[in-house]
């Protein structure tokens, strides 16, 4: 039975909270974890970077309407912009040699077309911000889907044991056996072509819900298996056995003793899975089976830039850099969260 706010059984559980200092109440594991996280400079720098990215992406409509003054979803192949005293074509006909080809305007380093235009004459910077919104939404939402499903499957399998565990564990094995990108691509090709209809639920093929579900589902085994292992271990632990001996109902043991102990694992997984999901979303969108036009994500913008690598590399480099920075920040944050919340890490720190 738990006697802390977090549900960790202080007297019975394997996780001991920090020793009480004179005149101050004992610090709970959550508070201790957050304190440790705040002390991790790399993790905090990552949080700042992520917050800035999120804020910038949220400001996309403002940027497009006030600064860029373009619609990033409408082609502007015949448009012109004025920079200083010069009026420039957005799509510039090549005049050298035989005069073949039309090249989008490059980075102007001004408010309009800051990073140049893509092959539709659209402002890359504005699309980057809008695309970032989709990339972040998909990676965050698919992380939630993945973690929730993984937690349910892992806890039920580990706690119920027996036939239930066998069936669920084998299902996870089957899912695990597929190469992850092949599975994601296969699901995407099937679902993106016609959308998803299950009874009254109809998800359109261009809905963001599809990539969210696909990415969320394919990574479930990666999280569910460690959770199942942890739950198996917890169910054999002294405090759970004691609770059972005391006649505590199984549901209550699950909620009060097991779940709080796997929560830290889930939290540790969150930023790491979000980074992984962002890469997967980018890959699917790059292959035209993620975010569908005219929507954008960083992956689709890289795809747009693929045909401009020789003339306008910025179109592919800019979203690529955005992905690298975001994924790095998420990974650094993930490391910090693991160090702060992972019980083993805590013990390790204490020994040190």
């Amino acid at each position: 039975m738990s006697d802390t706010a977090s549900g960790v059984p202080a007297s019975l559980g394997p996780i001991e909270s920090a020793p009480a200092t004179a005149g101050r109440p004992a610090e709970g594991p959550w508070r201790a974890g957050l304190r440790k996280l705040r002390q991790d400079r790399t993790a905090m720098a990552s949080v700042i970077v992520l917050v800035l990215i999120v804020l910038a992406c949220c400001a996309a409509p403002l940027y497009a309407s006030r600064l860029s003054q373009t619609d990033p979803f409408q082609s502007n192949l015949d448009g012109q912009i004025t920079i200083g005293a010069n009026t420039l074509d957005v799509m510039q006909a090549d005049t050298a040699g035989l005069g073949l080809g039309v090249t989008p305007i490059g980075p102007t380093w001004h408010a309009q077309y800051l990073l140049g235009a893509d092959n539709q004459g659209r402002d890359v910077a504005a699309r980057m911000l809008y695309g970032g919104r989709n990339s972040l939404i998909i990676s965050a939402a698919s992380t939630v889907v993945c973690l929730v499903l993984a937690a349910v499957v892992g806890i039920v399998a580990g706690f119920a044991g027996g036939l239930t565990d066998t069936i669920l564990a084998r299902l996870l094995d089957v899912l695990w056996a597929f190469p992850i990108y092949l599975l994601a691509i296969s699901l995407s090709i099937v679902l993106i072509s016609k959308g998803l209809q299950i009874g009254p639920i109809n998800i359109a093929s261009d809905s963001l819900i599809l990539p969210i579900l696909i990415i969320g589902i394919v990574y479930v085994p990666y999280v569910a298996r460690p959770i199942r292992g942890q739950v198996l271990s917890l169910t054999r632990s002294d405090f759970v056995l004691a609770a059972r001996c005391l006649g505590v109902p199984a549901g209550r043991i699950l909620l009060r003793d097991i779940l709080p102990n796997v929560t830290t694992t889930i939290i540790v997984f969150a930023p790491l899975m979000m980074a992984l999901n962002m890469l997967t979303e980018s890959a699917l969108s790059f292959l035209s089976i993620g975010v569908q036009p005219p929507g954008a994500s960083w992956g689709t913008i890289i795809q747009d830039g693929e045909d401009l690598l020789y003339t306008r590399p910025m179109v592919a480099i800019a979203p690529g850099l955005a992905i690298v920075i975001t994924v790095l920040a998420l990974n650094f944050l993930g490391d910090g969260v693991r160090d702060a919340f992972d019980p083993r890490a805590k013990l390790r720190v204490r020994k040190d």
Binding site: F73, Q74, S75, L77, D78, M91, A93, D94, A96, G97, L98, G99, L100, G101, V102, T103, N119, Q120, I192, S193, S205, D206, S288, Q292, P293, P294, D307, L308, L309, Y310, T311, R312
Partner: protein, 562 residues
């Protein structure tokens, strides 16, 4: 096509005249001279991103491999292997001459040249000709039911291909060394159909199934000696070939052609620049055009194509079952922007109508522009928006289906932008080029609008107007319904049918009438024609004597390497 069965004969006079004219030159004894030519020898290195499927010339329907078949195989007649407009002329090939029509244009007697051998060493006989046309039906040639159904006995062959005999349709006479074709009706395009690779003459013992990766016996100057679709194809000289008609089948300069598959266009360009490859099949990516045209201008060849890029609109389902909505899209589309996506004005020409510029029957016409007339100048958004308002289709959801190759995805994205500007709620769906063309044809897929192209099979206006817009070309529920818009106008059909008959007797008059039909079809707005592309061939500095044919593009046998 059933409509073509009503034709009468004498338009063949023109074809015959051009063919006979060619024949004079064709009999020149050039083989020996050419063999001694200083340019003979070497290896021409070809490259493409992918192979084009089967090696069966009677099945494969791709421009990529037709270019090969034109130098490995022969029909009774052939398009002249020359540059410019004369490449559209039909000349005698395995036949000694283009036969004069008999029986009101329903009978043709071809006399075979003697001494022509397959690459197996076996002589070409009338029996081989009969067997080849039977085989067309036995292997379900893609156009057996539309091109060759005019041959007597074809009905039975279409019903039961396995037992096809074409009895009474194609008759061999070994003693006279002739083959007689009996048609159910005159067909002004019959020689054109015989001149394509589908009309290739193969040995009678060629299996009645797709040969796949196994080369068929060749009659031309070259033969395929090995083929791995994942890797490469090797084409070498046919040891039994001797020139019988320079116009139909010149000897060829290079001793060997090595075709490499699996090289991306980006890499192919670099390889050609470095002299590691000689020619690429694929369209150069837009971001390399500037570099190519400034540094390697002398290695670029640009030639007009008889082709159109267009967006067929399904006239049978919303929102494009409303003509005003279709007209609105036509007025709104900025063809200069579409040309820009393709590579700019040097590589494409804005077009509003069905027929491409320079094609038989073409008369410039563009109603969908500011200042309507003969030339597109600018989109008319005011008129387009008025039409949209009138149509009542504002807010309708539209999905544009594009394939994933070359400029098609970009054109799809642009079209979505135009549709959204008009007030539709448009999105695009990009699907594999392997399936897109059949997907958009099938009415079961409810495709509203798509991006596609049409390249001529042969130089006749009916190859666009009749094939793409007649009621007979619309087959609901089928993957083979090339009238993608589902456009069926009885008045237009009547004009087409009447003109197919006129074409037999008076081709110039027919071409004038095709122009009117073209304009009428354009006014019906079943699709948005965007532009007519040009062919850009990029060759290494080793390649000389580049010769461009309207039919074969680069004539492989006429190029030599230094």
């Amino acid at each position: 096509m059933t409509l073509r069965q009503r034709l009468t004969t004498s338009a063949f006079a023109l074809l015959t005249a051009t063919g006979l004219g060619a024949l004079g030159a064709s009999t020149a004894q050039v083989g020996a001279a050419q063999a001694a030519d200083a340019h003979t020898g070497g290896t021409l290195k070809l490259v493409s991103a992918a192979a084009a499927g089967t090696l069966d010339p009677q099945i494969n329907y791709t421009a990529q491999f037709w270019q090969i078949f034109y130098v490995t195989n022969d029909g009774l007649v052939e398009f002249r292997k020359s540059a410019g407009s004369s490449s559209n002329d039909v000349v005698a090939d395995l036949a000694t001459e283009i036969p004069k029509p008999q029986d009101g244009g329903k009978t043709y007697v071809f006399t075979l040249r003697k001494g022509i051998k397959f690459s197996t060493g076996k002589e070409v006989t009338p029996e081989d000709v009969v067997a080849s046309f039977q085989r067309l039906f036995k292997i379900s040639n893609p156009n057996a039911g539309s091109w060759y159904n005019v041959i007597a006995g074809s009905d039975a062959c279409i019903k039961t291909p396995a037992t096809c005999t074409l009895a009474g349709g194609v008759v061999a006479d070994d003693a006279a060394n002739t083959v007689t074709f009996h048609l159910t009706a005159p067909d002004s395009e019959f020689f054109y159909k015989l001149a394509t690779p589908f009309g290739s003459i193969l040995p009678a013992d060629t299996p009645s199934k797709d040969v796949g990766t196994v080369p068929t016996a060749a009659t031309g100057p070259y033969m395929v000696t090995s083929y791995d679709p994942q890797k490469s194809m090797v084409i070498k000289r046919n040891p039994y070939f001797k020139v019988w008609s320079k116009d139909a089948q010149p000897a060829g300069y290079v001793d060997e052609m090595d075709y490499t598959f699996g090289t991306r266009a980006e890499d192919a360009i670099t390889a050609i620049e470095n002299g590691q490859q000689d020619w690429m099949f694929d369209t150069p990516p837009a971001d390399r055009l500037g570099e190519m045209s400034s540094k390697y201008a002398s290695q670029i060849h640009i030639n007009p194509l008889f082709a159109i890029f267009y967006a067929p609109m399904n006239v049978n389902i919303a929102p494009f079952n409303n003509k005003d909505a279709r007209l609105a899209v036509n007025y709104a589309l900025n063809r200069r922007s579409a040309v820009g996506i393709y590579g700019g004005p040097r590589l494409a020409v804005p077009n509003c109508q069905v027929l491409p510029p320079g094609f038989p029957g073409y008369q410039a016409y563009c109603p969908y522009t500011k200042n309507p007339g003969t030339k597109w100048s600018a989109p008319d958004m005011v008129k387009a928006k008025e039409l949209m308002k009138k149509s009542g289709q504002i807010g309708q959801k539209v999905t544009v289906i594009a394939d994933d190759q070359n400029v098609d995805p970009a054109l799809g994205t642009y079209l979505v932008s135009v549709l959204n500007e008009l007030g539709f709620k448009a999105t695009s769906k990009v699907i594999s080029a392997n399936i897109q063309f059949t997907y958009i044809q099938n009415t079961k897929n409810n495709v509203q609008i798509s991006i596609t192209q049409w390249y001529q099979d042969y130089p006749a206006a009916s190859d666009f107007l009749n094939v793409l817009l007649s009621c007979g070309a619309f087959h609901p529920g089928s993957d083979a319904s090339v009238n993608i818009a589902g456009y069926c106008s009885k008045p237009l059909d009547a004009m087409i049918n009447k003109n197919l008959i006129t074409a037999v007797t008076d081709l110039p008059a027919a071409n004038k009438e095709w122009a009117k039909i073209d304009h009428a079809a354009t006014d019906g707005a079943p699709w948005v024609t965007m532009f007519t592309p040009k062919q850009l061939d990029f060759v290494s500095k080793n390649v000389k004597n580049f010769t461009f044919s309207d039919q074969f593009k680069m004539i492989l046998s006429l190029a030599y390497v230094q």
